[in-house]
Amino acid sequence: MHKKNGNTDRSKTVILNGTPSSPGIAYGPVFLYDKSEPVISTSVIASKDIREEQAKIQSAIRVVDLELRKVEQFTREDPDEETSAETSEILAFQREILKDPDLLSSINQNIRQDLVTADRAIFSAFRLYLDRLKNSPSSFFKDRIPDLKEIRDRLIQAVQQKKMLQKIPEQSVVVCRELSPGDIILFARKKVKALVSERGGLTSHASIIAKSMGIPFVFGVNKLMSTVSEGDTIIVDGSSGTITVHPDDELLEIARLSISAFEILEQQRQSVSNEPCQTKCGRKITVQANVELETELDRVKLYNAEGIGLLRTEAFFLYGQNENEQTADDPNREQRSFLEKAARTIGEQNITVRLFDVGGDKLPGYAKEEANPFLGWRGIRILLSKPALLYGQLELILKTLSKHPCKTSIMVPMITGLEEVIQVRTMFDRAVKKLEIEPLSVKLGIMIEVPSAALTAGYLAPYVDFFSIGTNDLTQYTLAADRTNRMVHQLYNSMHPAVWQLIKKTVDAGNEHNIPVSVCGEMASSPVAASLLVGLGITRLSMNAASIPDVKQYMRGYKYDYLKTLAEEIVKAGSVKEVDEICKRMNEQ
């Protein structure tokens, strides 16, 4: 190795340390991401553009809400991370702000009266509230200022996103004072090399997302902002927490070696996902990915998912829109473009789109607080009472995907019984006929997530082409335990034998009527539970793409007959404790 003096005069190597948060090593030029003052446009818009600017607000609110929801989800799915009550409270509070009717009307009014752009309208609307908090005598209220600013800046970013994204060079290392989970989703799209932040903040959530996106991340780096400048070369070691600014050639060479070592490990992991998913004795299982965000589509390919087993569409549900402020000319544009991108990702494989699965609180003008929202007006119950909405979505999905070579399936959430199934089937058949689609080329299936549907699965099967078991809701409805409620979440356990009896019942009904049964809940991404589900007769699993290698690797260690014996024991078990012992035996084998 040659040593040169080229980069040493001004730039002495400096080593900083922080908290390692997402593993991996990377180096590249620094992109300074300055969040302290968002740059707001000063231009004036023409009155004919008012609606367009207002539409940007709607879409920004939806994007930010989706990101916050995603953060909640990632947090729940990460087994290492104790969700601190405080951060979930902040998330809930921030999502509540997005629903604030006064905020929305004040933003819209700013646009209409002052003819300012969407970003400035947001900035001004928040200023009033921030000023009031600043003048508050109590520190408790002053402490909420950062939460408010964060949500304001996220909205502004969402509006400016295109412009912002253009500014970030690919392959750079993002350096900033503070990083929100939403920022990471944004940067992942730009394929940045690594992330470093000076402070903490909502970082526990941020690191979960960085990990699942595979981006090295170090936070809590003292003096970071005063040490680095734009364009500096920097090495980030997300496993040790070391940051090397202005590395000399020798250090860079070491970094390169470490990167290739890390890549080999990662390739080994991914090569597992290149192989088919099967048991030790060769029983094949179809493994698909769950997708909600566009950024997740990259991972579908990366981990070789055999299609998308659950494509969520909730993000495109008309979000709390005032009926008199219907702004977008084509309200379906975003949903259509998302479906098209998903279809292009998977080629000829299967894509299963789930119809809107939301609670009544998302409907415009709907203001009834339900005492038990999870037992209330949601999922297919809403869709059936708004036939135009249901038919519109069916037609949109079928029409959009029929232009692509993918195999199309549509899945109905929250089915409780036969009447609902027949109604949806009738509408589905009507749409297929109207669009002149070959009836056998598209499938209609239902989610089995309510105990009544599992128990009557044999009666529902003749009307559908597949079942997909949503184990999260099935568990919460079977055990009457809300897992977000700290007082009862210990009761929420998908390994309860009652849940397994219902899954068995569903699998049996599927076999009898010769329709496939898949699982798309979190159980599918746990290697142990997924293997046991295969033992129970499940042939399709859909999970977070990043979980695919671990599930495949684990399943290869067991023969189907053995898994079958264990699964039968679980169904007959009398308690969670007994099930735990069966799983323990399995791991010791």
Binding site: F93, I97, D100, P101, S136, F141, E369
Partner: protein
């Protein structure tokens, strides 16, 4: 239109969580809901409005409901203040 005065009794005042609870409850009624405090009038269905009241323990607020379900709305909201914004257990 009906009105009632209440006093904030929980030690931390109407911070983020109580504000969310209050807004959620108020939004479940059709009636308009306003809060008067120190000469301000704010929409009780707006979380930012409620939060920026910065109502601390001991603060006196005047609540106003108007609409078809104003009676039950005001009653429920007053109850929420009385139980210091804890969750309902109306089972």
């Amino acid at each position: 239109m009906i009105r009632k005065k209440v006093i904030v009794k929980n030690p931390e005042g109407i911070h983020a969580r109580p504000a969310s609870a209050l807004v959620k409850l108020a939004s479940s009624f059709n009636s308009d809901f306003y809060i008067y405090s120190h000469g301000y009038k704010i929409n009780g269905k707006s979380i930012l409005g409620v939060l920026t009241l910065a109502a601390e323990c001991g603060a006196e607020l005047e609540l106003e409901c108007s609409g078809e379900d104003e009676k039950i709305a005001l009653q429920r909201i007053v109850e929420l203040f009385e139980r210091n914004f804890t969750d309902t257990t109306d089972k």
